[in-house]
Amino acid sequence: MLHIIRDSFSESARLKNCLAVYAPQDVLLLIENGVFCALSATESGSQLEDLANKQQVFILTPHALERGILDRLIDEIQLIDFLGFVDLVVEQYPVLQW
């Protein structure tokens, strides 16, 4: 299953709610303002760091680039482009957008 987060940590509790029901084989993808969740040295960043050590966590590179935070992300996160996004949706179906 693919979970998609599109809000930052201060916009909503969606990341928290998502992590509460997260299953071991699930995959997480951050898009739009959700990319802010992966900032290093923040609370949400360290949560995602722990998760990314065990499971796959992806971030949509163009959206992180647009927001100027590409060089301040947690190291464990995997960068993907729009084509990678499509692949993820196909591979990880079903998709849950929070």
Binding site: S10, T42, E66
Partner: protein
């Protein structure tokens, strides 16, 4: 001729894309050209707006603000710190405010959006 109709404060609370922020700034610029004293305050995720990449349309729009007679640009110090940003990471020079200074800022303005 310019008349002073009062002090307006616009608050940017979210990170917005180019189209959305352009619409908000149209209002800011209209107010400024009608003679209002306009200031901006960036808080919460709004501070990310000022940390956008230096090249690109978004940054061009933001760096034009001082030319449109926008009086002052304020940033919430706590919002910056929560997001591990420093004033020098921002594309504009700003005044950092503590919560009690923001309270005063709201009182100093006739209208707050």
């Amino acid at each position: 001729m310019k008349t002073s109709n009062g002090n307006l404060l616009f608050i940017v609370k979210h990170f917005k894309g180019l189209a959305q922020i352009r619409e908000s700034f149209d209002i800011v610029l209209a107010a400024s050209s009608l003679g209002f004293n306009v200031s901006l305050l960036f808080i919460d995720d709004g501070v990310f707006q000022l940390a956008c990449p230096k090249e690109g349309d978004l940054s061009a729009l933001l760096t034009a603000l001082p030319f449109y007679d926008v009086q002052k640009i304020y940033v919430a110090k706590e919002s910056l710190e929560e997001r591990r940003l420093k004033p020098q990471d921002l594309i504009l020079s700003v005044t950092c405010l503590l919560p009690n200074e923001m309270t005063k800022l709201f009182l100093d303005h006739n209208l707050v959006f």
